[in-house]
């Protein structure tokens, strides 16, 4: 039986609906949440990602702004810009679009973002709080994965979650979130990677399989247990076999084959992507609520 397709757009819509009420309350107190994205250079994928976020912000009634810096901006100029935003009372959330050009120190730049405005949870102090189980901002992609699971009725509670890919923006924070002893988490979690020998033997153990390797069709049907929940975080551009010369977006999962075996699966596009941007908005609203309480 083909799998239930988890509709990320619908879930994102639902989340934004809930956020709108909170935004209205803030506005009634004279606070309009604002997210500022810093973009260095002209990377087309980054530009399109930020455009998606801006749309999600507008749909929720929050403000958004993109600060564009030249490809050759210095570390000092970048940090000065971040510091200025840290102090700006009209700005509640700051994201720094990655990757940065090679001459810039990503870690130092991320550590400059005020932990109170770090809505993508990249400042090490927020990552530490995440792992410790303290109140923090969850990075939007893993946060979105957790929301997708819980809201589609597949809570990770008591389940074995296998995460393929251990990046600092997806795999690691997701592991830290899902092992916490709380509702919507409480999972047994394995992290592995594309280099894992006999990856299939590991992935076949999963009740919930999260693919975050950045490699098209890396997860094939033989790697998935019958009845597993499959969450695809991958976004890969491949040549469209139906339209030679054109490109299309696919995930890390061989969707057509895996959907025949899985109990539920997220599509690409329309799965984790829309929820990721909704979570970024959610974090911005939370930041505005926290900051305006002070």
């Amino acid at each position: 039986m083909p799998a239930e397709i988890i509709d990320g757009r619908k879930i994102a819509e639902q989340i934004r609906g809930e956020l709108k009420e909170r935004v209205e309350k803030l506005k009634a107190r004279g606070v309009t949440p604002k997210l500022v994205a810093i973009l260095v250079g002209e990377d087309p994928a980054s530009i399109s990602y930020i455009r998606g976020i801006a749309k999600s912000c507008e749909a929720t009634g929050i403000l958004t702004e993109t600060v564009r810096l030249a490809e050759n901006v210095s570390q000092q100029e970048l940090e000065a810009k971040i510091t200025q935003l840290n102090r700006d009372p009209t700005c509640h959330g700051i994201i720094l679009q990655l990757p940065l050009p090679k001459h810039l120190d990503t870690l130092r730049a991320e550590s400059t973002i005020s932990p109170d405005k770090d809505v993508d949870g990249t400042n090490p102090i927020n990552m530490g709080k995440l792992l410790l189980g303290e109140d923090t901002f969850y990075p939007s992609t893993p946060y979105g994965v957790q929301e997708l699971l819980v809201r589609s009725g597949h809570s990770p509670d008591g389940k074995h979650v296998v995460i393929c890919g251990r990046s600092n923006i997806v795999g690691k924070p997701l592991m830290g979130m899902l092992v916490q002893k709380r509702k919507g988490a409480n999972a047994t979690v394995t992290v592995c990677h594309t280099g894992t020998r006999d990856l299939a033997a590991v992935t076949r153990q999963a009740d919930i399989l999260v693919a975050a390797m950045g490699k098209a069709k890396a997860i094939t049907a033989d790697m998935v247990k019958e009845g597993a929940i499959v969450i695809d975080v991958g976004v890969n551009q491949i040549e469209d076999p139906q339209n030679p010369g054109k490109f299309k977006l696919v995930g890390d999962v061989d969707f057509e084959a895996v959907k025949e075996k899985a109990k539920a699966i997220t599509p690409v596009p329309g799965g984790t992507g829309p929820v990721t941007s909704a979570m970024l908005v959610a974090n911005t609203v939370k930041a505005a609520e926290r900051l305006s309480r002070l």
Partner: protein
Amino acid sequence: MAAKILDGKKLSAEIREELKGRIARLKERGIVPGLAGILVGDDPGSVSYVGLKEKASEELGITSHMLRLPRDIKEGDLLKEIQRLNRDERIHGIFVQLPLPRHLDESKVLSAILPEKDVDGFHPVNVGKAWLGQEAFLPATPIGIWEILVRYGYGNLRNKEVVIVNVDNLVGKPLASILAQQKIGANVTLCHPTTPHLPSYTRRADVVVVSVNKPKFLTADMVKEGVIGIDFGSNWIDDPTSKTGKRTVGDIDFETVKEKAEAITPVPGGLGPMTVTMLLANTVTAAERQARIT
């Protein structure tokens, strides 16, 4: 064939000898490493543990500054003491003996320690940096485990299955912080003691780490032939054959598992002796970093 016994007592003595050399080099430059500890109240376990740390520091030539504060100390006063130690240039490492009395906010207290002096590795900045794979202080238990593995020749964990039965901030999560990094390349699974079908995880493990404080929790039928067993349990059980009528055992059923394992840590004499040593090692590292010798 019986397993190799991973002798923490012997390793600990070896590491302390190496530390003496590093301390001597610091002293040549006029730096005497200083460790400050804060003990609130008079919990007998904590009193004796702080005493051990004090004695071990002095034996190595690390100056120890132990503050014994009254049980009913106000949080503000405790924070002031920490700030004073943060500023004191003679002190390179600071730890707060846990648990704290209930009226004190543990997370607030630990976050007050300067990350550069946080030799227990509990400050969220250190937790986050370690998780992200950056230079940071890590708690004594996980680095003690890592040292045991490396020094006994089991440090190459690429493509190995590591199963950790513990998801706490002291053991499971920080150990995953070391072992789940790309450069190590292990597949790491964090299990709760309550994980359903736990033996199905532990039986796959090349390395199994247990810290649940239940005697004989991990039995021979739960491990595969050739496993490396690491035991951080400490249980005080009845033993009519001993003079006191009691003895300490770990969480692994040592007698039966050692017949199947490649290597195993005993209790006592395994990880226990390593923890104080690793705290001292972190203190020496802190002194070197603060003096910019690394």
